[in-house]
């Protein structure tokens, strides 16, 4: 068949239309029936993608293992010394934290408040980031078989990363905090001001519905407010990079840059809701009735 002929082009056109129709059928089905397509996805992921992923990571693992094998004695001694010093610092920090926790419990008891539960977490690894830079999504190495549940928060040593959205048997998908559908209640570390953050769909976050006279300025660190949200309180989320007030408006606008970033193979922590809150399922933060019906956000410069 000559592809330059009209007959050849006609056949190719029909094949293109069929492929596009099938693709869009899948897109619509996945968007409207995620539970049905999730089963197919999980099976294909296990039988087809897992071997490919193993082959993809094999060179890096072989390189890592062989370079570890050939490390010099001096390098190993230096690494051991550094880790011992780090362990000593963290033990000291842990002692201080235990003292603060005991003090906190006593103060709560005095004020007849419910005792806060210790945060539990499951360690998971980032298996894949998205293929496209503008899709704020990652895949983790643990799923429902390891106790992972939907809507649990994920974070690392530097702060909040995002929230779990789709759970398979042995993997799970998480939405990053820069995704437009990600909301989190935070407090300004400096003065305790409550600020609602939303991902902007790119690489930053927006502070929403902050009163125009609120004391929020560039450089402020925003930490999780805790409460019934998917994150324990006090986790770093973002740093305010830009604030803007339009005259006559009742709310100010602010942009914030996330403090934590994600790298493949980096370990993350999945926050497990304590059993005492098992009757109250974890729900994503939404603005709800806090949003005035006639509110129109200004466009930032």
């Amino acid at each position: 068949m000559a592809f330059g002929s009209s007959e050849g082009r006609g056949r190719q056109g029909i094949k293109f239309l069929l492929a596009v129709a099938a693709a869009w059928g899948l897109i619509v089905a996945d968007h409207n029936l995620p539970f049905a397509t999730g089963e197919v996805r999980a099976e294909l992921s296990y039988w087809l993608i897992k071997p490919v992923r193993f082959a993809a990571r094999l060179p890096e693992q072989v390189w890592s293992a062989s370079s570890n094998y050939f490390k010099s004695r001096e390098e190993l001694l230096a690494t051991t010394r550094r880790l011992e010093e780090q362990l000593l610092r963290e033990r000291s920090e842990r002692q201080r934290q235990l003292y603060i926790e005991r003090e906190n419990i006593e103060l709560r008891t005095l004020q007849d408040l419910r005792r806060g539960e210790a945060a539990e977490a499951i360690v998971a690894e980032v298996v894949n980031t998205s293929s496209l830079p503008f899709i704020n999504r990652i895949v983790l190495s643990k799923g429902s078989n390891q106790g992972i549940q939907e809507n649990q928060g994920i974070f690392n040593g530097r702060g909040v990363i995002g929230q779990l959205t789709r759970i398979d048997a042995d993997t799970s998908q998480a939405r990053l905090l820069t995704d437009k559908r990600f909301w989190v209640a935070t407090r300004v570390r400096r003065n305790g001001l409550l600020v609602l953050l939303q991902g902007d769909g790119g690489r930053r976050m927006r502070a929403r519905f902050v009163p125009a006279d609120a004391e929020l300025k560039e450089g402020d660190i925003l930490v999780t407010a805790g409460g019934d949200g998917p994150f324990p309180p006090g986790l770093p989320v973002a740093r305010v990079s830009l604030t803007w007030r339009a005259s006559g408006e009742s709310f100010m606008e602010a942009l914030a840059v996330p403090l934590a970033s994600v790298r493949q193979d980096s370990a993350l922590l999945v926050h497990v809701v304590p059993e005492s809150d098992a009757d109250d399922p974890v729900v994503p933060v939404t603005p709800g009735d806090a949003v005035p019906a006639n509110y129109t956000p200004d466009v930032l410069p």
């Binding site: 492929a19 993608i49 490919v52 992923r53 437009k180 559908r181």
Partner: protein, 171 residues
């Protein structure tokens, strides 16, 4: 006649085997799923899209719409993106590469890179459209960088695949 044009004509005479084609696509999928540092991620091209473009330009029968659809489906499962998103993007890629194939064959090396960039950019644009509709994504111009880096890698691609193609050429 330019030196590379005669190379391009010679390339077309060496018919690669199906094994080489699918092996190269498998390696491309592995490269897509390999771990990369965060700083490289913005520049990382879609290796599967690059190889599809290469084979469509090289030999039209090598990779068709059904192969592109299946590869897209595998990519969607691997990245947990919306099912069908990469399938749609790769179908657009094959269509664009098919249209550009005739001028590609007679073009110089740098012009070929431009055609590759257009094809990869069309696939990225298709993916971007799906993400904008279903993922509330707000893409920026920098998100098209993978098309640029893919076009840059194009210069090296024949050096990797041609020797194997000539050795494994179907008789």
């Amino acid at each position: 006649m330019r030196g590379y044009q005669s190379d391009a004509m010679r390339d077309l005479e060496a018919v690669p085997s199906r094994l080489l084609i699918w092996l190269s696509l498998f390696c491309a999928l592995c490269l897509n799923l390999a771990p990369y540092p965060d700083e490289w991620f913005v520049f990382k091209p879609d290796f599967v899209a690059l190889l599809i473009t290469y084979w469509v330009f090289r030999m039209r029968d090598a990779v068709g719409y059904s192969a592109a659809f299946l590869l897209g489906l595998l990519s969607d499962i691997a990245y947990t993106s919306t099912l069908g998103q990469h399938s749609f993007a790769y179908a657009v890629l094959v269509l664009t590469a098919d249209f550009l194939r005739n001028p590609y064959v007679i073009a110089g090396r740098l012009q070929q890179c431009v055609f590759v960039m257009i094809a990869l950019g069309a696939a990225l644009g298709a993916s971007l459209g799906v993400s904008a509709i279903f993922d509330d994504a707000t893409p920026a111009a920098v998100d098209f960088l993978p098309a640029l880096t893919g076009a840059g890698l194009w210069l090296a691609l024949p050096l990797l695949l041609l020797p194997a193609a000539h050795r494994m050429a179907a008789r």
